[in-house]
């Protein structure tokens, strides 16, 4: 690791700076590690270090032994080496990973009026020949310095140490962090695709992580029970298959927590006993992260650091990102495995099941359950399914043969009676009778750990209930299982998206500029959707494609399965970029055109006057986006003036508010309002005429009236006024 942080170009830079300082201070300077190994070439104002490196090993050894007396220095100091009065400045600095200390050694300094005395001392000292000669030369060549001068040099050398530390750190950011992230991302993505073991990911994690010695994953095996399924790192073998319960030891406590937990300096903490006993030995710190899918806790990811490590904020971010990547990886693996199991279970079932599985859409499955249950009953009259909505706050219903208001009333009843009261306890099916004497049979739809819906079918008689209940039960059960798989699919989608976000964040690390553009494009797409340019779904897809565009090819290939659609759009986008300015016939899908436009605008500096069209992008779309950009700027600058509440700002709403305010304020007629609305949307007179089925002449008349009423002279002013009112 030391060698890596001292990469060739870093070495050169440090050497150059070291030379500059040597020239300036007329000292010989050398940077060494804790064991006295030189890290760069010495800068010799007088040839002491040069000579020292040429001497036999013993002399050098002795010199570094002298230096090493001062290990543990935290500030630059003037130190006597060999003989009292032969002074060197030693300035320590930390390695970027915080795992080592380096020293700048600069010398030699001799106080004014001590030179002669020192010559004598050297002669008297019990040194063997070579050492004596070297020291003598050193003393003879050294300039005498006053105490104040020496103090100035001490500060200077201290600065050199600081500078070297900074250079190393930034190089470290550039190379170390980014490279490792890329490596880890690659490994995770590959193993994700190949569904290979977590071990490989762990191994890689240990390799690239600075502060972690052991990484492990404890899987939840039952309520309150956990087992360490996998662990990697030195001494981790004993952890394999170790079991613990909630609350037991550190891991057990982490299992009770919703968020990440961290403990340090715990060598003597009794809670560490569980891990110690399994061959870890003493360790310094432990970090735990819950791994969950939706609301389900799957297990705990933990990382053990044996030694105390200096923590650089950048490194902390880096490690956090690594951990997040690994935990997402584990979570998505678990979801996939679960889906696989479900599909296996369903395979032997009938045609209907396969058909239902293929739907992969909650609403369509609900349609099928309702239609199928009607088909299965002898005298079908009505069926309804009540299902909790995604946020759990409302319910959705699908029904046939029931009055709409009755359906809703029934849904509320079911929600209170079953979904709210006792969702964890799965009831069996139930036959009941309404006040009107209608027989209803209800089946719970249970998945992902609780009752999430009810399928109800009305029946004509008890006998019919007897006949049909088994087959309906089978249908409801099947529905539950399939809904579970859809649920998992959705979770996987979310998981995939989170994974992509992490990959994206990690790819941005160290490349600030690119990150800025892509962040902007994400924001633009979001705002454009709110502006009405795209649907939220379309915007989300484009955002994902935009994030993928920042990843390298390898990473993108690995994510191919999860983001097939996005990659198609991205590929099309690339073709568009390549063909920019060329002539020919192009047909690109709307998403690709949108992406091209959004990324293009995101790449523009504020000052740059952009192109008036993009090859392959329809002029309508491009102009619409351009208008949006213009409005966006107007809105943004206005908002900045009036206390930046950008987050909740919606240009379209502002437009509407503004128009309403104007209509009220200036007493515009209904027709004038319509015209103004179109003006604000940047329609031409011709467009307005066509849209309102009036002549252009009439449009002009309306405009004159509107401008007069609003006391503005042209469209631009009118639009500005609408926005002002909208924002105010």
């Amino acid at each position: 690791m030391i060698e890596k942080s001292w990469a060739m170009d870093v070495k050169k830079t440090v050497e150059e700076i070291q030379h500059t300082y040597a020239e300036f201070t007329r000292l010989s300077i050398l940077i060494v590690d804790g064991e006295g190994r030189p890290l760069v070439k010495p800068s010799s104002y007088h040839p002491f270090f040069q000579k020292l490196t040429e001497t036999n090993g013993e002399t050098r050894e002795r010199f570094w032994q002298e230096v090493s007396h001062y290990a543990g220095l935290t500030r630059p100091a003037i130190c006597d080496l060999w003989l009292p009065g032969v002074k060197f400045i030693i300035a320590p600095f930390k390695s970027p990973a915080g795992d080592a200390v380096y020293y700048v050694v600069a010398g030699v300094l001799i106080e004014s009026g001590t030179k002669e005395m020192l010559e004598e001392e050297v002669g008297r000292a019990g040194l063997y020949d070579e050492g004596r000669k070297l020291l003598l030369d050193l003393v003879l060549e050294a300039e005498e310095l006053s105490g104040e001068e020496a103090e100035v040099w001490r500060e200077k050398v201290g600065k050199l140490a600081e500078t070297a530390e900074r250079i190393l750190r930034s190089a470290y950011r550039e190379t170390y962090v980014r490279k490792r992230l890329v490596e880890l991302r690659g490994v995770l993505a590959t193993s994700r695709r190949e569904r290979s073991s977590v071990e490989k990911a762990f191994e890689q994690f240990i390799n690239v992580s600075g502060g972690a010695d052991i990484i492990g994953y404890a899987e939840k095996t039952g309520p309150g029970e956990y087992r360490i399924g996998r662990a990697a790192g030195e001494g981790a073998e004993g952890l394999q298959d170790a079991e613990f319960r909630e609350g037991e030891g550190f891991l057990g406590q982490a299992a009770l927590s919703d968020g990440p937990m961290q403990w340090t300096d715990i060598q003597r903490d009794p809670r560490s006993l569980f891990l110690k006993q399994r061959g870890i030995g003493d360790f310094y710190g432990l970090r735990c992260f819950p791994v969950r899918v939706g609301g389900d806790q799957l297990g705990i990811l933990f990382i053990i650091g044996k030694r105390k490590v200096q923590v650089d904020p950048l490194l902390r971010d880096f490690e956090d990102l690594l951990i997040a990547l690994v935990s997402e990886y584990i979570a998505s693996g678990a979801v996939e495995a679960r889906m696989e199991r479900q599909i296996q279970r369903l395979r032997p079932l009938m045609e209907v099941t396969r058909f239902m599985i293929s739907a992969q859409n909650t609403q369509r499955i609900m349609f099928m359950l309702v239609d199928m249950s009607l088909s299965l009953v002898w005298n079908p009259s009505s069926a309804i399914i009540v299902h909790e909505s995604s946020n759990g706050q409302k319910v959705q219903i699908v029904s046939r043969g029931i009055a709409n208001d009755f359906a809703e009333q029934y849904a509320r009843d079911v929600a209170k009676r079953i979904l709210r009261e006792n969702p964890a306890q799965a009831p069996g099916f139930e036959l009941s009778q309404t006040e009107e004497g209608q027989l209803i049979i209800e089946y719970p739809i249970v998945y992902a750990g609780k009752t999430r819906g009810v399928l109800a079918v009305s029946l004509s008689s008890e006998q019919e209930a007897e006949e049909c209940r088994e087959v309906l039960l089978a249908l409801a059960t099947m529905g539950s299982i399939i809904l579970q798989s859809v649920h998992d699919q959705q979770q996987l989608g979310l998981q995939n998206e989170r994974f992509l976000r992490l990959m994206y964040t990690s790819a941005k690390m160290g490349t600030a500029d690119q990150g800025k553009n892509s962040d902007l494009s994400l924001r633009l797409l979001d705002e454009y959707a709110r502006y009405g340019g795209t649907t939220p779904e379309e915007a989300a897809l484009l955002q994902r494609a935009s994030m993928l565009s920042v990843l390298d090819d390898a990473a993108r290939r690995e994510l191919h399965e999860a983001f097939a659609n996005e990659l198609v759009v991205l590929k099309e986008h690339q073709t568009m970029v390549d063909s920019e300015g060329k002539t020919g016939n192009f047909s690109y899908s709307r998403p690709a055109q949108l992406l091209r436009t959004a990324l293009y605008f995101a790449s523009l500096d504020e000052e740059t006057a952009g192109r008036l069209h993009l090859t392959g992008v329809s002029p309508e779309l491009f102009n619409h986006f351009r208008k949006f950009m213009a409005v966006r700027h107007t809105v943004q600058s206005e908002v900045v003036l009036s206390d930046g509440a950008t987050a909740s700002f919606n240009p379209a709403e502002a437009e509407e508010r503004g128009i309403d305010a104007i209509v009220k304020e200036f007493g515009l007629s209904k027709r004038e309002k319509e015209v103004l609305e179109l003006v604000v949307r940047a329609s031409s007179n011709k467009d307005i005429a066509a849209k309102l089925f009036i002549s252009e002449h009439t449009v002009k008349n309306h405009l004159t009236n509107i401008f007069n009423k609003m006391s503005v002279s042209d469209r631009a002013q009118a639009i500005a006024r609408v926005f002002n009112r909208g924002i105010g």
Binding site: F367, M368, D371, M372, S389, Q393, V395, I397, R412
Partner: protein, 81 residues
């Protein structure tokens, strides 16, 4: 020729699935018979039954009747008071 209820039920499921899978399909009994590879007569019974329990919409009569999927009543935002 009489067809057992069992078979009719199977055919009914098949038809239901067809229309659920092709929610934008418009079919005559004749056209559907060709697609599913089933006889027209039982199909007509089943299609009419599905129309009766309002799973299908029926336009026109006799041979000219067109069947299409009728989307059930859905409400995805029922507040729980």
């Amino acid at each position: 020729m009489t067809i057992s209820d069992q078979e009719l039920l199977k055919l009914q499921m098949e038809c239901t699935m067809f229309f659920e899978n092709n929610p934008y399909a418009y079919e005559t009994a004749k056209g559907l018979a060709k697609k599913l590879g089933r006889g027209i007569e039982p199909l007509q019974i089943v299609l009419n039954r599905l129309a009766a329990i309002s799973i299908l919409d029926k336009r026109g009569e006799g041979n000219m009747a067109i069947y299409s999927y009728k989307t059930p009543y859905t409400q995805s935002e029922v507040e729980i008071h």
